[in-house]
């Protein structure tokens, strides 16, 4: 009896092992952690399904991890516990940490090692410059990429007697006044975040945020934005806020700047091209998109981007890395880029895809057309975004100080000086943390 049971058990184990062999030999399975929800997540899942169908020998499991911040945090925890995914989507400001982490397999090396060398020059200039190391390498693959544009409700502007989109901040201010005078309760809405009010505004004006090329040149960078164009802009913002012209999103019924514009509550909003999907989905037909305004009499530079790139972690087998390389190459195919872009409003990444898009302009959403055009303008050392440590904390500090200024507890001048000083303490610590490190890029 016992002998028979043991025999049965042995046979069952054996058959299980035999059954498992082809699975081991065939599928190179890996995980991709992404940081989106809703429509964006749906689109990413469709890309994953498309890849799994095209490459039956590979299998990618695409798992949502919450917000950008949560995904970064989970990636850190997972890596420390040796449970990291093969590919992870990390937001723009995580780039400085990821590059120096010592935890990654640089994407350019991975693609070369697995026989899929990429031509980095094909990436749009502003995208490549945002993510490149000082010696021009791309350690990650750009993914969800957005830039800031002006959305306006054509009908509301026309009703207030404004027939063209404001191109300058002076005209923007006058438009706000006109809308208010015409009885508009929400001329414009903003969420008062530094990506929009500091990083993008300074980039399009070619004004520095930090020394050492906004941090691209290394750890010695320090903040340098508290005067000049940022102060001028934030003084205007303070005035618009005080006069009820630029409403905080929390004062709208939608409680969100994109939705407050999309549902017709507010007449204008400065928002990412990626917001286009939401505006379009809400069925808004009167939305007109224009480039970010600049100050009259100043030079307009090419705008920078925000968003995310894909990083590959160390610790997988060569077979898996081959599959990962195929996956990254798949996502980089022009038709996949354009599929993702058309659905979400995120920008195409390569010249190749951009040309395909331009040849069929009927399918091109306004936000993407305007966004790409505003990025294509000539640049200077300060229009390629920032590469700074503890940037997520700095963004919170900036918000804290600006909130104080909006509440009248300190002047906007002092708020920016304080934000700069507190930011510099963070940069000093970031430098001290990594100075001893031998791992990763410069």
């Amino acid at each position: 009896m016992t002998l028979r049971a043991a025999g049965l058990w042995f046979a069952w184990m054996l058959s299980a092992c035999v059954a498992a062999i082809p699975a081991i030999g065939r599928a190179a399975a890996f995980e991709f952690w992404y940081a989106h929800g809703g429509l964006y997540a749906q689109t990413i899942n469709e890309l994953c399904a498309g890849f799994n169908k095209t490459y039956p020998q590979d299998h990618v499991r695409c798992l949502p991890q919450g917000t950008y911040e949560q995904t970064m945090r989970k990636a850190v925890a997972a890596y420390r516990a040796d449970q990291q995914p093969a590919v992870v989507e990390i937001y723009d400001i995580g780039t400085a940490d990821m590059m120096r982490s010592g935890a990654i397999y640089p994407v350019d090396a991975l693609m070369k090692d697995t026989g899929h060398p990429t031509d980095d020059a094909d990436y749009l200039d502003s995208i490549r410059r945002f993510y490149a190391t000082p010696d021009g390498r791309l350690l990650s693959q750009p993914f969800g990429t957005s830039t800031l544009v002006l959305y306006a409700n054509r009908k509301k502007l026309a009703a207030a007697g404004i027939n063209e989109l404001p191109q300058t901040w002076e005209a923007f201010g006058q438009a706000l006044q006109a809308l208010k005078a015409h009885g508009e309760s929400c001329p414009a809405v903003a969420d008062y975040t530094p990506w929009k009010m500091l990083e993008q505004i300074n980039a399009v004006q070619g004004a520095p945020i930090a020394s050492a090329n906004n941090g691209h040149d290394g750890l010695a960078a320090r903040y340098d934005f508290a005067d000049g164009i940022h102060l001028r802009y934030m003084r205007d913002v303070l005035r618009w806020h005080a006069q009820g012209l630029l409403l905080p999103a929390i004062l709208t019924h939608a409680n969100d700047q994109t939705l407050a514009f999309a549902d017709g509550e507010c007449a204008m909003v400065i928002d990412a091209t990626g917001a286009y999907a939401i505006v379009a989905k809400a069925g808004m037909v009167d939305a007109e998109v224009g480039p970010l305004p600049v100050y009259a009499g100043t030079t307009r530079y090419g705008n920078t981007i925000g968003g995310s790139s894909l990083w590959v972690f160390k610790g997988e087998t060569p077979a898996v890395y081959s599959a990962v390389a195929r996956f990254l190459a798949y996502l980089r195919e022009p038709q996949q880029q354009l599929f993702f872009s058309a659905r979400t409003g995120y920008l195409p990444l390569t010249h190749n895809a951009e040309q395909k898009l331009a040849s069929s302009p009927s399918t091109e959403p306004d936000a993407i057309r305007v966004g790409l055009a505003s990025m294509a303008l000539p640049g200077n050392p300060y229009n390629a975004g920032v590469r700074l440590g503890f940037m997520s904390l700095f963004r919170l500090i900036w918000q804290e100080e600006v909130q104080r200024a909006l509440a009248g507890r300190e002047s906007m001048d002092d708020a920016l000086i304080n934000a700069q000083a507190r930011g510099n303490l963070l940069l000093e610590r970031f430098q001290a943390t990594y100075r001893a490190s031998t791992a990763g890029a410069p």
Binding site: H253, S392, L396, A407, A432, S437, G440
Partner: protein, 295 residues
């Protein structure tokens, strides 16, 4: 002590306690030791570099004006949060005891909110206290600028204190009802015969007699306000506006989990732990003294 009440063998009690000890070791002692180690180093998020810096992380926090601002916010939050919880719970318990017949029903009803998690409550209250919709939105439309928790730090603090008190009142209420019921009926009856009204009996008999329990719930609330208030702040104000509700428990999360500043955040955690230890020590000493006096 009866010998039959003792465990047989030397290892039995240890074995019985092992699961609990293992959990505490895994989720408390080990993270604490790790935090202590991090607090003396500068560590990279992904763990490939760390350099010993002695007390630098602590000194930096102790020199930072924002640390003291956060400490002040914590003090305000704790003081008003604990005060509101204990006073409201006490008044509710007193009223329930006054009216025995309906008291039983209200006893059950008032315990219910204890089952609501802080984060759920935070989300509900954030919507309820929105300056653009609901009651507050209406008041704002009548009286523009009346309710601005996104700008006004005092209003934001009121909001989180209200939410915190909401989470604590049920527990305090249970303890205080039990305490009031344990007061011998003779005392109350004797006082009533002497002509003392309900309020007089409450002030002169009930409150003095339940002082240990009042002290107990206040201490529990205080420790909770320092360590367990994260969910409420995260869902309602995220420490804003302008850092007005950036209490220590939230600052630790913000620096460590959003900012990936593991070293600074660990140093803050250790400072917070010392604070809680001090609060517990005070409670312990006071209880000991009380027990001795009663013995």
């Amino acid at each position: 002590m009866k010998t039959s009440a003792r465990f047989h063998g030397r290892w039995t009690p240890f074995a019985l306690g092992l699961p609990q000890l293992a959990l505490i070791a895994l989720f408390f002692y080990w993270p604490t030791l790790k935090g202590l180690w991090w607090s003396f180093h500068l560590v990279c998020p992904f763990g490939h570099c760390s350099s010993f810096v002695g007390f630098d992380n602590y000194l930096r926090e102790l020199k930072d004006a924002n640390f003291y601002a956060s400490l002040f916010s914590t003090a305000v939050f704790s003081l008003f949060g604990v005060g509101a919880s204990v006073i409201v719970a006490l008044v509710l318990a007193w009223m329930v005891e006054l009216h025995q017949r309906s008291g039983r029903l209200f006893r059950y009803l008032l315990i219910w909110p204890y089952a609501v998690a802080g984060s759920v409550l935070g989300v509900i209250l954030r919507v309820a206290s929105s300056p653009s919709i609901g009651l507050m939105g209406y008041l704002n439309s009548v009286w523009p600028g009346f309710w601005q928790p996104h700008l006004n730090g005092t209003q934001a603090m009121t909001m989180v204190v209200f939410a915190f008190a909401w989470t604590q009142i049920p527990f305090d209420f249970i303890v205080l009802v039990a305490a009031l019921r344990s007061i011998p009926a003779d005392y109350m009856a004797a006082a009533a015969i002497d002509g003392a009204g309900p309020l007089r009996r409450f002030i002169d008999i009930q409150i003095p007699m339940i002082r240990p329990q009042l002290f107990f719930v206040a201490t529990m609330n205080l420790i909770d306000s320092i360590t367990n208030s994260f969910a409420i702040v995260d869902t309602m104000t995220q420490g804003g506006p302008g850092g007005a509700t950036n209490i220590l428990a939230y600052k630790i999360y913000r620096d460590g989990f959003i900012g990936l500043d593991l070293s600074g955040s660990s140093a803050l955690s250790i400072l917070l732990m010392l604070l809680v230890l001090a609060a517990s020590a005070v409670q312990f000493v006071v209880f000991e003294r009380q027990a001795k006096r009663e013995a």
